[in-house]
Amino acid sequence: MGQTIAEKIFAAHLRDTPALGSMVLDIDVVMCHEITTPIAIMDLMEKGMDRVFNPSKIKAVIDHVTPAKDSKTAMQAKIMRDWARRHDIKDFFDVGRNGVCHALFPEKGFIRPGNTVIMGDSHTCTHGAFGAFAAGVGTTDLEVGILKGVCAFRKPETMKIEITGTLPKGVYAKDVILNIIKQLTVNGATDKVMEFCGPVVEAMNMSSRMTLCNMAVEAGATSGICLPDRTTAEYLWPFIQGDYASLEAATEAFRKWHSDTDAVYAGTLTIDVSTLKPQVTHGYKPDQVKDINEMAGTKIDQVYIGSCTNGRIEDIRAAASILKGRAIANSVRGILTPATPAIYSQALDEGLIKVFMDAGFCVLNPTCGACLGMSSGVLAEGEACASTTNRNFNGRMGKGGMVHLMSPLSAAAAAVTGEITDPAQFLN
């Protein structure tokens, strides 16, 4: 019987089968940020277990609230910083070099096809875009990961998500994944790996694949995953050129991680995107999704472009294509947060930051910022935000606030008009 990519990765990393249906995997990359890691570090210290299994397999960043906003967040950062020094964790990213974990770590080439990846963060599934099994975990799992380099999972089945057709102009990966979550509902993929495949995924760049995988957890999935191909090899080339004779050779080697043609799936969802409209959420759950024209006219107080979902250069370019030569509505506050310093720098080089500033946007340093409502753009009660992030939970961006999830293009359109707007009217 054939295997899916996820099953191949499980087989290659299996350390133990503690019970039927459970597996303990060896982990290649343990990623850490300053919200869930300091409490793990403190607990390990208290228990006399302040060790790390392999400092070169641990990647750490301060990204959620940075630079620190108060004494408590300063202390979280300090605990991480001291820990990284103490254990000689070389891949540690602090103020000036830090950015949103799920954008920064891929950019550094840390994730490779066939890897197992964990982090104390639910959107760790983003890294599945590289053909890796990447899953968010809690603090105890993180502690064991740091200490032993293993993690336990209830063995997930794979659900095939086949994306066919051609993406219409103005419709992006974000619209596709919102529509998929709408169809599956918020727990439709619980204990499953969502394997994104089909011609539309094959044609997508890594940025779009990351957007797809990023939101797999919003359908309850253990992870999202894409098959590694030439696009993956091209993205990783600066980091792997010593390992392969050519791009073709790398691409060929990656094929070992493709699902077999006779692999067994727990179900298939096929979506033809040819007639898909831009999508937007309307409630407090990410499966409450409508076509954007059904929500047109809804008043917006803030526009947020950033996050691990849509804070990459491609997203900034898309938004800038609408903002260029236009001003945002007087009633709107626009916030752009490039997800990493490299993205910020690239946006500067391309003149995109100027486009945003001329339009009236505030440009922040790379951080999670408003996405989780801890700093840099918290909403007041009764306010609404057009946001390129991944969660619209009640209170997520501030108590009593409403978050409408959408693509960078739709968010830029909302910034210009001050209300939810189909971006089509701005595209020529």
Partner: protein, 179 residues
């Protein structure tokens, strides 16, 4: 093994996420105890603010809810917020994966029951009075006694590994010994 069960509190809603269980603004805490006053403080139920200071909620040791409890953020703070409030069992139709794993990793129980069984448990609350729930990990049963009489017994299945984690007192203790 530790005894699980006690006074039950019922929350009739699905998809309660971990942002609702413990809001992000408390994620800067570095002790579990500091989370204690904030459990479910921003929860909205049927359009009304949930009273997280109500005596029957304060007394709860078991939470009974509907489906997909604990979805969203991976924050284990959600489990700790339950723990430091004396809640050692959550019973629902289903749980989000990371939350469920976090519960067992901490050595406490996330028990899945069929919808019909959950309905039966909710019915017990109709007559008023506190419902007490006992969990038997040998027989894999949940027994609920209504305050005004009536009782319900339901069977569950629990993964053998999850049981081992509970017996070991959590995943860290288990993994430290075994790997």
């Amino acid at each position: 093994m530790k005894q699980f069960g006690g006074s039950a509190f019922f929350i009739d809603r699905s998809d309660i996420n971990t942002d609702e269980i413990i809001p992000a603004k408390y994620l800067t805490e570095i002790t579990k105890r500091a989370l204690q006053p904030h459990l479910l403080e921003d929860l909205i139920l049927d359009g009304k603010e949930f009273d997280s200071k109500a005596p029957d909620f304060q007394a709860a040791e078991v939470l009974v809810t509907r489906s997909n409890f604990g979805c969203g953020s991976s924050r284990e703070h959600a489990v700790w917020a339950l723990e430091v409030n004396g809640i050692n069992v959550v019973i629902g139709e289903s749980f989000a994966r990371i939350f469920r794993q976090n519960m067992f990793n901490c050595g406490i129980l996330a028990i899945e029951l069929a919808k019909a069984d959950i309905d039966q448990l909710f019915k017990l609350t109709k007559n008023g009075g506190a419902v007490k729930i006992a969990v038997d990990l040998q027989q894999d049963t949940v027994t609920a006694e209504g305050g005004q009489g009536g009782s319900v017994e339901c069977a569950f299945t629990m993964n053998a590994f999850d049981k081992e984690l509970v017996a070991a007192g959590g995943w860290l203790a288990y993994a430290d010994q075994k790997y």
